[in-house]
């Protein structure tokens, strides 16, 4: 975090090391893992229908690229819209619970109860209710992803120093002002953590939704590749799902860096 130490270190280390050391360890580990995977498949001659070699997955990516690219776009759109709706719903619920005490006491246990409903079981029902368009996927993502948003924002808003709240009340500040001027700003770092969890949940929600019923998307591609026993294509689509997930995660982190620069981060100086 400290700017001073970072710039001091810069003088002592060559430029390329400073530029690469953030992501180099991850890259080396990933490369080594893929290499070991390829070697294991070749040495033990594992059948491609059980575990395909990374080279076969890359070949499938290349061969099916037009299909996979359009499927990725479909799923990315679902994730993006689903995530935004989850964030809005999650934040709104947290605000309502904190601002209106009685509503909070009514809502909170129900939200916790709902969180324990297995969402996978809801997926086919959502298809029947909402059809094959975006709606059932957005619905499913929202029920899966709003909870971490609500919970983390609540935790953030409740962790305000009680003596600060007492002071504000003593000078006659209203509940709404306390909410928006004290509690909400205070909750932002935790909210961002919740949003990052929601981003990864959104990816899962989109795939679960597509598994239940879809006409396009990566989840749909995975299912139909599996019926053809094309395991390499299944893995290629899974790789793209992971890339999407990582992409959305870091997009939220980027927003965090810009909007809430004081939020604590892992993996930084």
């Amino acid at each position: 975090m400290s700017l001073g130490t970072a710039s001091l270190a810069d003088v002592e280390r060559p430029g390329w090391r400073v530029a690469t050391e953030g992501w180099l360890p991850a890259l080396i580990l990933a490369f080594a893992a893929v290499l070991a995977w390829e070697a294991a498949v070749r040495v033990f001659s594992v059948s491609p229908y059980i575990v395909p070699a990374p080279s076969a997955i890359v070949a499938a990516l290349w061969r099916e690229w037009p299909t996979l690219a359009s499927a990725t776009l479909v799923t990315a759109r679902e994730i993006l819209i689903g995530f935004v709706v989850s964030a809005v719903v999650g934040i709104a619920l947290a605000l309502l619970i904190v601002r209106f005490d009685w509503l909070g006491r009514a809502l909170y246990p129900l939200i916790v109860l709902f969180q324990n409903v297995p969402k996978v079981a809801l997926a086919p029902i959502f298809i029947l209710w909402f059809g094959y368009d975006l709606a059932p996927k957005i619905g499913l993502i929202t029920v899966i992803a709003f909870f971490p948003v609500t919970l983390s924002m609540l935790a953030g808003m409740e962790s305000v120093d009680p003596s600060l709240l007492a002071l504000m009340r003593s000078v006659g500040t209203g509940a709404t002002d306390i909410l928006f001027k004290i509690r909400v700003p205070h909750s932002l770092p935790q909210l961002m953590a919740g949003l990052k969890i929601a981003a990864t949940f959104s990816v899962i929600g989109a795939i679960v939704g597509e598994f239940a019923g879809a006409s396009a998307g990566l989840g749909y591609t995975i299912q139909f590749a599996s019926t053809q026993l094309d395991t390499a294509l299944v893995f290629a689509a899974l790789a793209l799902v992971s890339v999407l997930g990582v992409g959305f995660y870091y997009l939220v982190e980027l927003v965090e860096t810009i909007a809430v620069p004081w939020a604590p981060k892992f993996n930084r100086d």
Binding site: Y49, P124, A214, S215, Y220, S226, T227, Q228, L229
Partner: protein, 338 residues
């Protein structure tokens, strides 16, 4: 080792001295497990009847488990890597699986023609010819066999997936059709269609276009094993197929009893005797028998039919590598007194 040599010898002369060998086998039967393609239905009855009425025991086999499945492709993968000894699944899917390097072999063709059909609600869409499918929304359950059938059926009739909208559906299908989420689905006339018809309003409520009537030449589902099993334990495979075929004859002759036995043996099927019987009757009426089975016994397979199937599959490029029908099926365990 001693036991194996003894069993091998017994099989070689099993017809001649069956009586003596059977006693010794009964003391230490071979344990085998069976992997079904889906939840139990009428044409799975041979496994349950074979176990209940002692056809397997008679041939020195103890069927320890009959597992329900999650689609033909999964069943084939499980049998191929030895997680189960024998399986039941869709044979065109078996060809696709083999072209993807999954070493499975067809042993007995239960459905002599494909029981797969396009199904719609008669009051919404009437299906009278394949081109009626143009522009419809089609619901397909992505468990394997139905999609492979659908692609082949389109290819056989000069249609393409681009002519319609494809959506994945999960069983039971009736809600999708009744709510109009899709206009037509791919279904098994010997599995979900009888139930679907009952729920959609009885006989005549559905419009059914059987693939076999419109250029799709293929076996339906049947018994299969793995290359390894046939190579390592040909004697066991021979006895299993023999017992299975005897159970098959029994099922075809006494469907009521077969349905009752299956309903009793399969977990959660206590009240489903009628459904199983309807499925079996549909099979007996249209798919179990063919001129081939009249000549050679139930389950018979010919190179001609397999070649036809492979040709259709190749036309719609469902096969990853070019296949020949040799190795895909074997009839050496089948037939009257084989």
């Amino acid at each position: 080792m001693l036991r194996r040599t003894f069993l091998g010898g017994a099989a070689a002369s099993s017809l001649a001295i069956a009586g003596g060998a059977l006693k010794a086998r009964a003391a230490d039967p071979d344990k085998v497990s069976v992997q079904l393609d889906w939840v139990p239905r009428g044409d799975h009855a041979m496994f349950f009847v074979g176990k209940e009425k002692g056809f397997f025991a008679k041939h020195g086999i103890n069927v320890t488990e009959i597992r329900k499945g999650t689609g033909s492709p999964d069943a084939m993968r499980l049998v191929a890597n030895g997680n189960a000894d024998f399986g039941f699944g869709d044979f065109p899917t078996l060809a696709v699986a083999r072209s993807q390097g999954v070493p499975v072999v067809a042993l007995s063709a239960v459905n002599q023609k494909s029981p797969l059909a396009m199904v719609s609600l008669a009051k919404t869409v009437k299906l009278t010819k394949p081109s009626d499918l143009k522009g419809l929304s089609v619901g397909i359950h992505p468990a394997g066999s139905t999609y492979i059938f659908f692609k082949s059926f389109l290819a056989a009739n000069g249609l393409s997936e681009k002519d319609m909208t494809i959506s994945s559906v999960a069983p039971p299908y009736e809600s999708y059709l009744l709510l109009g989420r899709v206009q037509t689905i791919v279904g098994y006339v010997d599995a979900e269609v009888p139930e679907l018809e009952a729920k959609a309003g009885g006989v005549g409520s559905l419009s059914i276009m059987l693939g076999a009537d419109y250029g799709w030449k293929a076996y339906g589902s049947g018994l299969f094993g793995s290359d390894k099993m046939i190579k390592d334990k040909p004697d066991l495979v021979g006895r299993f197929v023999k017992a299975y075929t005897e159970a098959f004859d029994d099922v075809a002759a006494h469907p009521e009893e077969a349905a009752a036995i299956t309903a009793k043996a399969a977990p959660g099927y206590a009240g489903k005797t009628d459904v199983l019987l309807a499925q079996l009757k549909a099979d007996i009426a249209s798919t179990f028998m063919s001129p081939d089975t009249k000549a050679h016994g139930l389950g018979w397979m010919t190179k001609e039919t397999w070649d036809d199937t492979l040709r259709s599959l190749e036309e719609q490029s469902a096969l990853k590598t070019k296949l020949t029908s040799d190795g895909l099926f074997t009839d050496k365990f089948l037939g009257n007194g084989a």
